[in-house]
Every structure is written in structure tokens, then in C-alpha cells.
């Protein structure tokens, strides 16, 4: 097999090295200074309730899917009561049920959402502090 010649070897190698360094720079620069996961604060009412609508693990992972299910059910089917696997009933409402216990949006919702860099638009319409407005 014929040996192939590489043109501009020096320039290309230097360029490649510079590219790799620049492309991976965010990893090097932030190495070791990972932000600690935020601590969410439970209100006295939430603590007293003992458990959420579903298990803690489920709520952590899937609360957004749960809220989507609630929305579709309430808006489209007119079903407003959620009976969980323990047989306990809840009114499917972000402001009347979720925010009733978790009335501290800034310390509960926002902390995780900011950490995860997600901006859900729930509170563009739903009133975030129903108790203060009353």
C-alpha cells in the first residue's frame, strides 16, 4: 500500500489541539466546583401531612407527568378527584391542592427548577401565592 502524504501537518495538528482544548474547556474550567443540589424546604403543613399525593420518589421524578395527567383530566374530562393507591382522595388542582401544602414556591418549586435550569410556565397563569392574594 502506498504511503499517503499529509500536507500542512504542523498547522493541522496545532489546530486540532486548539480545537479540542477549546471544545472541552467548560469541563476543565468547572471541574470540581459542582453546585450542591438544593435543599427544598417543607412547610409545617406539608410536614404534618406526612406524605404527598404519591410516594416521595415518584413525586421527585414524575410530578410534571402527574400534573399533565391532572390537567388533561380536569380540563378535558371534567374529572376533578384523584384517588391514590392508598385510597385517599385529592382535588386535582395546582393552586388548591399542591400549593395548599407547598405554599413556599420560592423555597420549594423554584430552588430545584433553578438548579435544573428549567423554566416551567405554570405560574404565568396559575396564581403562585393563593393565600397571600386572599
Amino acid at each position: 500500500m502506498a504511503k499517503r502524504k499529509m500536507f500542512n501537518k504542523g498547522l493541522i495538528s496545532a489546530g486540532l489541539i486548539v480545537f479540542v482544548v477549546v471544545a472541552t474547556s467548560p469541563f476543565w474550567l468547572n471541574f470540581g466546583n459542582a453546585e450542591a443540589p438544593p435543599e427544598v424546604v417543607l412547610t409545617a403543613k406539608a410536614k404534618a401531612a406526612g406524605s404527598c399525593v404519591r410516594s416521595l420518589d415518584y413525586m421527585k421524578r414524575y410530578h410534571m407527568q402527574l400534573l399533565n395527567t391532572w390537567r388533561t383530566s380536569v380540563v378535558r374530562d371534567g374529572n376533578t378527584v384523584y384517588v391514590n393507591s392508598e385510597g385517599k382522595s385529592y382535588t386535582m388542582s395546582l393552586t388548591k391542592t399542591c400549593l395548599d401544602c407547598h405554599s413556599n414556591k420560592a423555597e420549594f418549586c423554584d430552588r430545584c427548577h433553578n438548579y435544573a435550569s428549567v423554566t416551567p410556565y405554570c405560574f404565568d397563569c396559575h396564581i403562585e401565592n393563593p393565600k397571600e392574594t386572599q
Binding site: 380540563v75 393552586t95 397563569c125 396564581i127 393565600k131 392574594t133
Partner: protein, 265 residues
């Protein structure tokens, strides 16, 4: 060094892609479905106190309207119940239930010799919750839909993209667009009901949120007998008794939208 290296490289790349995409599929099969199978599934149920019907309708008894001021309480009740903003600029107005004179409410019935009473009367007008709603056909995202169980024409604001096809389709002007953020223009916030955002259309929802907890619509409660609400499919309902005893008209009946709001004139 391998010969025909391009061919071999492509082969290897292809195999890798298959391998990588097969892994998650196999993993799902191995775990054998969901973990919730063991516990009972949560259930979604209607509120037992909810008012139900198969075709909600409304009868407006205009004989009970003596002055336009009689309509103010029901318009105000609606605004309060649904966080409706009040804009000075008429172009930005948000209307769920509002007041209209005969020639605009019933343009096809207007003539030169209308009775003095009718031509000077102010009519409450709102979404007719048509049996055959043109707005629903126009909506490209199914944000607006007719609830099959009770015939109420509703909106899912989460899905509305603000294209305003429904506004063009509605022959009654019952839909309003939020040209700007409504929140600063809401006089009194009702915390349990959401506001809307800039860029969505909104309209009367026959107070589904109140029906769901066993209450009558806010305007009906505040109307002092001008409005009657009930099931049009139930021959013994209050609305049907009124319809049976009085001649009624509907707005722009000839368009075939089959409004569910009737007017005794």
C-alpha cells in the same frame, strides 16, 4: 493496516449504532413493564357533588331586563370569578359575557319597525356553546373542543398557540385575544382561578369549574332571574319548561351553529 478501510469503517459504525440502540430496548424488556403493577392504580373520578347534564343550555328572559344597569351585576360576577382584565382600549377588551343592543346581537332580525322596547333593550350575550361549533373545527391544535359529555365548548389554554382562527370562525365575537399581559389590569384577583397570558384566546366556559363542585354559573347566580341555566335534554328542567311556555329566538340561527343560549323577547 486494513485494506478498503472506508468500507470496514462504515460496517463498524453501522454495527455500533445497532448495538447502542438495542441496549435500552433490551433493558426495558428485561425489567418487564412498570413498577406500579403491584400497587393499585390511582383513579380519576368526577366530584360526586358535580352538576351534570347531557346538553347544558341557557335561557335569557329579556322581559326581566328593565335597564342596562340590570346586567352590570352579572357581567361583574363573571369578571370576578374568572380574573378577567378591564382595558380602557376597546381593541384589547376581553369579553366573556357582555352587553349588546338588538341590531348587533340579532343582525338578521333587525328591521325598520322594531318595537320601541326591543330596539332600546340591552341584551346579555356570551359564548353560545353551539351544538355545531365552528371554532372547534377551526382550531389547529385542538385547544378548543366540545366536551362530549355535556356539550360545553371549552378551551385548554395550555395548548392555545394564539393563531386566532377560532376568532375568525366564531360568528358571535365571543372570543377575545390577549394582546398584552392581562395581570396588571385585573381589578380583584380570584386566587383559585388562573389568569391567562399574553398570546392566548379566551372565552366563556359556562363556569365548568363551578359546575364541577355543584354550583351554578356565576352570571346565573348574580342575574336576579334574568338567566336560567339547565339541561336542554331533560324535558322537566327549568330551561325546557321556559322554552315550552315562551317563544324564543337564538343568535344567527340561520348559520346552522345551533346555539344553546335562547332569548325570550
Amino acid at each position: 493496516m486494513m485494506d478498503s478501510s472506508r468500507r470496514n469503517l462504515l460496517k463498524l459504525a453501522g454495527l455500533s449504532v445497532v448495538g447502542l440502540s438495542a441496549a435500552p430496548v433490551l433493558k426495558t424488556w428485561a425489567s418487564g413493564g412498570s413498577e406500579t403493577e403491584t400497587e393499585t392504580q390511582p383513579r380519576l373520578l368526577p366530584n360526586p357533588d358535580a352538576l351534570t347534564a347531557t346538553r347544558w343550555g341557557m335561557v335569557v328572559d329579556t322581559r326581566k331586563i328593565s335597564s342596562p344597569r340590570d346586567l352590570d351585576p352579572l357581567v361583574e360576577a363573571c369578571k370576578r370569578a374568572h380574573n378577567i382584565p378591564t382595558f380602557q382600549d376597546k381593541d384589547h377588551e376581553i369579553k366573556w359575557i357582555w352587553e349588546e343592543e338588538f341590531e348587533h346581537a340579532f343582525p338578521m332580525k333587525d328591521d325598520d319597525y322594531l318595537s320601541q322596547r326591543v330596539s332600546s333593550l340591552t341584551f346579555p350575550v356570551l359564548c353560545n356553546h353551539c351544538k355545531n361549533p365552528p371554532c372547534v373545527r377551526a382550531c389547529p391544535t385542538k385547544a378548543t373542543f366540545k366536551r362530549e359529555s355535556d356539550g360545553i365548548v371549552l378551551m385548554d389554554y395550555h395548548r392555545c398557540i394564539g393563531c386566532r382562527f377560532c376568532m375568525a370562525a366564531c360568528p358571535y365575537g365571543s372570543r377575545s385575544f390577549n394582546f398584552r399581559d392581562p395581570r396588571p389590569f385585573i381589578k380583584e384577583m380570584t386566587p383559585d382561578y388562573p389568569t391567562r397570558t399574553k398570546g392566548v384566546v379566551e372565552k366563556c366556559d359556562f363556569c365548568v369549574e363551578l359546575l364541577a363542585v355543584g354550583k351554578l354559573p356565576a352570571c346565573v347566580e348574580a342575574s336576579n332571574g334574568i338567566l336560567t341555566f339547565g339541561d336542554l335534554d331533560d324535558p322537566n328542567s327549568e330551561v325546557r319548561l321556559l322554552l315550552g311556555a315562551n317563544y324564543t329566538i337564538r343568535r344567527k340561527e340561520t348559520l346552522g351553529t345551533e346555539p344553546n343560549v335562547y332569548y325570550i323577547v
